[in-house]
């Protein structure tokens, strides 16, 4: 399994000289299987560049949406394969009580917000998901609701070479008076337990989190605690606050690693970073 980060920013794109290192594109991660299966996790603005890098021989791609907040779907309309008739694009997203996935995506992918209707895009097959398991190529995928604003799914993606857990927008510390809490009562626990690679929300500093409780995101500190609780092997702090510069993120991460001495490996969520899970332990 090869994992590539194409967008690691949260909330809104944050291009500029102060974010050149970590990148300004919003959430998008590519997962490649050894059998050629191509998964895309979220359709933030990072998906535009990913689309341009996919091979011409591509016949099918599967996009797994954790939720439909704009920073996770904003790039969909600019995903090249949606203009290629030979490519079948499967989009998997959380079911909702009232509106179908197609209707909810159409709120954005239609005028006046976007000039092209979703129905005019090439060969899209939509799948509504809740909690459960499904198979795409070599990947066995488990989906489950997690704590965030509006119905949001987290993913555990298992292949013969390892397990990736993707929780880009997640606030497991919301609720318990002391965090971390009992594992049975912690959002995302079953998805993350023992994962080889955990990509997790770390939007805020601990100080910022104090005034943003309930906004659906984690502090860097809580993301590390979640990593310890779930005994992951490797953590990728992700979904960086758009106001955090490269210098801010370098400083925050260094300070956190020095202070907590985590038992797992930590690799900053920097756009362009690649990971390979080969059964021998993950590594960028």
């Amino acid at each position: 399994m090869k994992v590539t980060l194409w967008g690691t920013r949260g909330s809104v794109p944050a291009p500029g000289p102060e974010t050149l290192k970590y990148g300004g594109n919003t959430s998008c991660v590519e997962v490649q299987g050894t059998d050629g299966t191509a998964l895309v996790l979220d359709g933030g603005t990072g998906i535009r560049r990913l689309g341009a890098h996919l091979p011409d021989s591509l016949e099918r791609v599967d996009i797994l949406l954790t939720h439909l907040h704009l920073d996770h779907i904003q790039g969909l309309g600019f995903f090249g394969p949606l203009r290629r008739s030979e490519v079948e694009t499967h989009i998997w997203g959380p079911a909702s009580t009232l509106h179908s996935l197609r209707e909810r995506l159409s709120f954005y992918l239609s005028p006046p917000l976007f000039p092209v209707y979703i129905r005019d895009m090439s060969r899209i097959i939509l799948h509504e998901i809740t909690e459960g398991e499904f198979q795409i190529g070599e990947f066995k995928i488990t989906s489950a609701f997690v704590v965030h604003l509006d119905p949001t799914i987290g993913f555990r993606i298992k292949s013969p070479s390892g397990t990736l857990t993707y929780l880009p927008d997640h606030e497991p510390a919301l609720g318990p008076k002391e965090y971390p809490f009992d594992t049975r009562w912690t959002s995302g626990y079953d998805l993350a337990i023992g994962a080889d690679l955990l990509i997790h929300d770390c939007q805020y500093t601990s100080e910022e989190y104090k005034t943003r409780v309930g906004w659906g995101h984690s502090s860097m500190s809580d993301a590390f605690k979640f990593g310890e609780l779930t005994q992951v092997k490797h953590l990728v702090p992700f979904h960086h606050d758009p106001n955090h510069t490269d210098d801010d993120l370098d400083r925050l991460l260094d300070k956190k690693i020095q202070a907590s001495r985590p038992t797992f490996r930590v690799t900053p969520g920097i756009e362009g970073t690649k990971f390979k899970l080969d059964g021998a332990g993950p590594g960028p």
Partner: protein
């Protein structure tokens, strides 16, 4: 044991902040949690009782109607919410584990989560000033 459903996790954490007694059960009626205000009515701390099967809690608490007739398990408001998937309101008497009988009123409602997943039921109750 696996992780609880997200709606149950949020219900438990939400109830732990409220000053209203709340009692949460799973789809089989097994007790998952009651909050601190409920402890004073049920007569024992949750930390002591812990989780209980439906059979245990429905017999360990002595619950009667306002004429002091013992309610059968199928008559308990929480069980009606569980079995019929509808909210129920009732006044009754409850003797907790401290053997003190209290006059209470309760609203019980089913927990139906995303994708119509049936996840259990919640009882909210108050002690009445007789």
């Amino acid at each position: 044991m696996g992780q609880q459903e997200i709606e149950l996790i949020l219900s438990r954490h939400w109830s732990s902040y409220l000053n209203t007694p709340i009692f949460i059960v799973d789809p089989q009626g097994n007790l998952l949690f009651y909050n601190e205000p409920a402890e004073s009515i049920l007569g024992r701390r949750f930390a002591v009782t812990g989780e209980m099967t439906a059979e245990e809690w429905s017999t360990i608490f002595n619950i009667t109607d306002e004429d002091h007739r013992l309610l059968e398990p199928h008559e308990l408001p929480l069980n009606i919410a569980l079995q019929q998937h509808r909210p129920v309101y009732r006044r009754l008497y409850l003797a907790g584990l401290d053997n003190v009988q209290r006059h209470i009123e309760t609203v019980c409602f089913p927990l139906i989560g995303q994708a119509d997943r049936f996840l259990g039921a919640v009882a909210v109750f108050w002690e009445l000033d007789d």
